[in-house]
């Protein structure tokens, strides 16, 4: 008899077992000290190493069972439990290790991050084809995140170096976060106001297609830092020449060059998808609408907008994710935002401060990406589902 093996789960379990043999956390005496690595089984507190090992061996065994709903659910639960054990070990051991030291702190190390990857593979691998509705799937996938946020709010992660860096900067964090969001969202808003008409124009006037796309393509080819740099000199010159502009906040350094450069960057996906949205409206569909006796307004309301809007919105989705990343770089020209923490951390050689800046940037990108994906999925008419992927 030949054993059928579900390879994804097996891979996740093997990675998970490997993760247990790598340094799980680093204990540091103060902010800049070198860390002392601890393997999982050497941790002073938390569940015994046999517990995660048992969960992984069970997952491995489940990989050889035939794919049934119950088996699949069991795999998902095992993955979730494994991740929960890891988080618990981190928070319990952190508290014990840090207690005797005045400035002590812990950071998760390679083993922990590999365990997160293993859990992701275990959970997503089985969740992917599970016949559950979208919101339920999102909730199951996000359950470990909810647990992590719960531990953070409950103070169980206070020994974590990143959380300590955050606690020291709580007020500044909120203001940088709002700066970050306002720069990114303003840029995407401006880019939508410019990019959608550009895309429509390129569609209506064929001779403009190549210059328009050549232009927006070219803007996105320029390295972001270079584009920021190129913005500074002309804006500084303008603000010297025209005091009125200076009063409006248009200066060489700060928000204005960042906003303009990020808007330029956001143009390509929005323009391209505005064009693609119009291209997706087939003449046959319009004709049949007209044949049904629809007026011009009805055609727009019931045919053109439902077809083109989701495609245009997926351009906005790509642009917004890119804008969040570019805003992080904009901190280098004094625009503020979460990138300021990252570059401050790099300047001070404080790895935990870098992580503290990077984590919310990544979280923000993923939230925006997934959030807009859900909105787009809701707005897409059933007949168009195959046009948009993911």
């Amino acid at each position: 008899m030949r054993l059928a093996c579900e390879k994804t789960t097996a891979l996740g379990a093997v990675i998970g077992i490997g993760a247990l043999s790598l340094p799980f956390l680093l204990m540091k005496e103060n902010r800049v000290a070198l860390g002392v690595p601890y393997l999982y089984h050497a941790l002073p507190s938390g569940p015994h190493v046999l517990l995660p090992l048992t969960l992984l061996v069970l997952s491995l065994a489940a990989a050889f069972l035939p794919e049934r709903p119950a088996v699949r659910a069991a795999k998902i639960v095992l993955g979730q439990l494994y991740l929960a054990v890891m988080l618990l070990a981190l928070s319990l051991s952190g508290a014990v290790l840090v207690a005797p030291e005045a400035f002590g702190r812990v950071s998760p190390s390679a083993g922990f991050w590999l365990a997160v990857l293993a859990a992701y593979i275990l959970i997503q691998g089985s969740l992917k084809n599970a016949p559950v509705v979208y919101p339920v799937r999102v909730f199951i996938g996000a359950a470990p995140l909810i647990l992590a946020v719960g531990l953070f709010l409950g103070g169980s992660l206070d020994s974590w170096a990143v959380v300590m860096e955050f606690a020291n900067r709580r007020d500044r964090f909120m203001s940088e976060l709002s700066t970050h969001l306002s720069i990114s969202l303003t840029a995407v808003g401006l880019a939508t106001l410019i990019g959608v008409p550009l895309g429509v124009l390129a569609w209506k006037q064929r001779y403009l297609e190549k210059p328009v796309f050549g232009g927006v393509n070219g803007l996105q080819t320029i390295p972001s830092l270079a584009l920021f740099g190129l913005m500074i000199a002309p804006l500084a010159y303008l603000s010297r020449q025209f005091p009125l502009l200076r009063e409006l906040g248009l200066r060489g350094i700060g928000n204005a060059p960042a906003l303009i450069a990020i808007t330029f960057y956001a143009l390509l996906p929005i323009t391209r998808n505005a064009y693609a949205g119009l291209a997706a409206i087939e003449t046959g569909v319009i004709d049949s609408g007209r044949g049904m006796g629809m007026t011009r307004v009805e055609l727009m309301r019931y045919v053109e907008v439902p077809i083109a809007l989701p495609i245009m919105l997926s351009g906005v989705r790509v642009s917004t994710v890119q804008a969040i990343g570019n805003t992080a770089v904009a901190a280098l020209i004094g625009a503020g935002g979460l990138g300021a923490f990252v570059f401050q951390g790099l300047g001070q050689g404080a790895p935990d401060l870098i992580v503290m800046g990077v984590l919310p940037i990544i979280a923000l990108s993923i939230c925006v990406d997934r959030g807009l994906a859900v909105i787009i999925a809701v707005l897409t008419p059933p007949g168009q589902k195959d046009v948009l992927d993911d």
Binding site: T8, Y207, F213, P223, A328, V355, I366
Partner: protein, 272 residues
């Protein structure tokens, strides 16, 4: 960057056709000419620092330093190219191999999870991945290369998978009917048909890589970013300008070269 399917929905009048031809034709000539002029000027100025200084003095009069003292423009350009070439070529090899692996029967089980992971990872901003190299690996050239390598895999991997998945099954079927082995089918049928899409992925990856490598200066990787950052810190636009224009010329040239390469491959189309 992506190929646009050009619509031919409405007929063009003779006058419109003339305008289309004029504008598109001139864009095809003007672009490369400007690019070659830019590359030649950049290399010449990089090789002759005294000329570079003279040009900058003319553009930004009344400043103190015009040249970066720590390294010549040529050195920085070289560093930047090495950074991109090493990480980019390694990423192309790994990305294409991984893409081939998960589309074979051996690895097909992993296709879903690899695709999920890579689309999730592509949501990460490149600067975030670069910055994380420091806590994970430390400062310097090597950690930056590793970070650039990891991030550059994603577009190549994504495009390799979608390129291979889009190979019309009847072509593969016909190859099998001719008695080709699976390895022959991969190298002589599937990869050539998917090449255009794969090269487009490499192109995206290299352009992003050049841009991210510019930020690499903040993690101590050197390259053209060093001169931009140094200029920003010292409020010296001449330095910022030199670095920014050089980086932009580099990015445009790489994009243009890969666009030619991409255009030289056959477009796969299925009748279905």
């Amino acid at each position: 960057m992506m190929g646009m399917s050009s619509p031919s929905q409405h007929k063009l009048s003779a006058r419109e056709r003339f305008r289309v031809r004029m504008i598109m034709g001139s864009a095809d000539v003007v672009g490369p000419v400007l690019l070659v002029m830019g590359v030649v000027t950049l290399l010449w100025l990089a090789a002759n620092p005294s000329q570079l200084e003279a040009v900058l003095r003319m553009m930004f009069p009344g400043r103190r330093g015009y040249l970066y003292e720590r390294a010549s423009l040529m050195t920085l350009l070289g560093e930047h190219l090495v950074l991109v070439a090493v990480s980019g070529s390694a990423a192309a090899v790994v990305g294409i191999s991984l893409g081939v692996l998960v589309t074979r029967s051996v690895g097909r089980d992993f296709l879903g999870i690899v695709r999920d992971l890579s689309s999730l990872a592509q949501t990460f901003p490149p600067v975030a991945v670069l910055a994380l190299a420091v806590p994970a690996l430390g400062f310097g050239f090597k950690p930056a290369v590793v970070a650039l390598f990891v991030y550059s895999i994603l577009p190549v991997l994504n495009n390799t998978i979608s390129g291979l998945e889009a190979v019309p099954p009847d072509i593969v079927e016909a190859s099998r009917g001719m008695g080709m082995t699976p390895v022959q089918i991969l190298f002589f049928t599937e990869l050539p048909v998917a090449a255009r899409v794969i090269i487009a992925g490499v192109r995206t990856s290299v352009v992003i890589n050049i841009g991210t490598a510019t930020i690499g200066a903040v993690v101590g990787a050197g390259g053209l970013g060093a001169i931009i950052i140094s200029g920003l810190v010292r409020d010296n636009y001449a330095l910022v300008f030199t670095g920014a224009v050089s980086a932009a010329v580099l990015a445009f040239s790489a994009d243009w070269c890969f666009a030619r390469l991409e255009g030289s491959f056959y477009i796969a189309r299925s009748d279905r």
